[in-house]
Subunit: 225 residues, 2 copies
């Protein structure tokens, strides 16, 4: 989990004061914020923006409901903050896509990173799934700019691979959607997988095997196996 950006609407209030125990207060603030963010990620992951309640977030975070509104003015602000943080991490997972290394190595690295993120931060993935399923109401601008630019540049790289005969002539968008879907499935549909696995969460060994299977099927499927 990476440090989240600071929201601090109150900073101006303390601007003039002698910084008596400012460090201490800042520490408390940061701790509370992090607790609320972690709780909100869970609750939004379960119920989506509309279905989640600030009362439940407060309960999970172990703070009074009013404090949630003190730290994050609105439910929407809290939700947006987590949503974009999740997506930013996904984009970073394929940061090295555009270099000139072996396509098989690049794709394998991307798929593995994406699988690892599903394993490490499933709630973030589920929150994102909610956001898209309900029509991307808060995120369509972000997707149509930042994410689309990111995706299109990877597609260009892939078309280059195809032209050079390094990869089968598959539609790059279809391939990327398959990678999105399959890797995020292990987070978003984790509960279903758990039930199929006799009501037990996948062990580390099982997950590692799944990851290797996903990589192998996709790489071979596009002629990189």
């Amino acid at each position: 989990m990476t440090p989240l950006k600071n929201a601090s609407k109150q900073d101006s209030k303390n601007a003039g004061k002698p910084a008596q125990n400012g460090a201490h207060k800042a520490a408390i603030r940061q701790e509370n914020e992090e607790q609320i963010l972690a709780a909100a990620e869970k609750v939004f992951a379960d119920y989506g923006f509309k279905g989640a309640t600030t009362a439940q977030i407060a309960e999970v975070a172990n703070v009074p409901k009013a404090n949630v509104h003190y730290y994050f003015n609105t439910k929407e602000a809290l939700y947006r903050r987590i949503m974009e943080d999740v997506c930013d991490h996904w984009l970073e997972a394929a940061a090295t896509f555009d270099n000139s290394a072996d396509p098989a190595v690049i794709l394998r690295g991307y798929i593995e990173s994406k699988m690892d993120l599903s394993r490490a931060r499933p709630d973030g993935s589920r929150l994102w799934a909610h956001e898209i399923i309900r029509g991307a109401k808060f995120s369509s601008e972000y997707i149509s700019t930042t994410v689309k630019d990111w995706l299109d540049s990877r597609v260009v790289v892939m078309r280059g691979w195809i032209k050079e005969g390094k990869m089968d002539a598959v539609e790059p968008y279809s391939l990327m959607y398959m990678i999105f879907a399959t890797t995020q499935h292990y987070a978003d549909f984790g509960r279903q997988i758990e039930i199929f696995n006799n009501d037990q969460a996948l062990s580390d060994a099982q997950f590692a095997e799944a990851k290797e299977n996903v990589v192998r099927i996709i790489l071979k499927g596009v002629g990189l196996g």
Copy 2:
């Protein structure tokens, strides 16, 4: 869309009456029920069980809110009804899995059926996604019995194919999850795909191309290409 099972808690009330215009009333009942079910599928697809409201369902169905409760006693009953109907259709999509035909033909048929269902009934898929994401609270028993039996028997068939050398030695569960994820992605993340496609829903031609790409990558990926 298949005919839905009849819920009819009121039938007993009319049991003794002369069936004066019973046929007419039954027709009205069925029409209203179908309108409500269709509206509920949309609204639940957008907001999930908790986030959806009966008022909105009534509005979309164009009936007074009280009628929604007249036809389906509770919000939960309405939700469960649609949920199981969606899943039943998915299971039927691979009804022919256990015959002795060519594995490539069987898998292709299943993937294509599943893609077609995503195209034809995306709201049902999104409702199901909501249900799993929030922890399968209403469906865990159904999944751990009906769906798991269905899945396990397909897995047995695949292990047979592998033993006979017809298919690569991939983990069948990983493969099935990939098929679930990828095909349902075209429904569940349809809005995201639309944004990437310059804010235009995939045309029939684009969807057909995507379908063919999905089939080819997966079949080749498991040595059936």
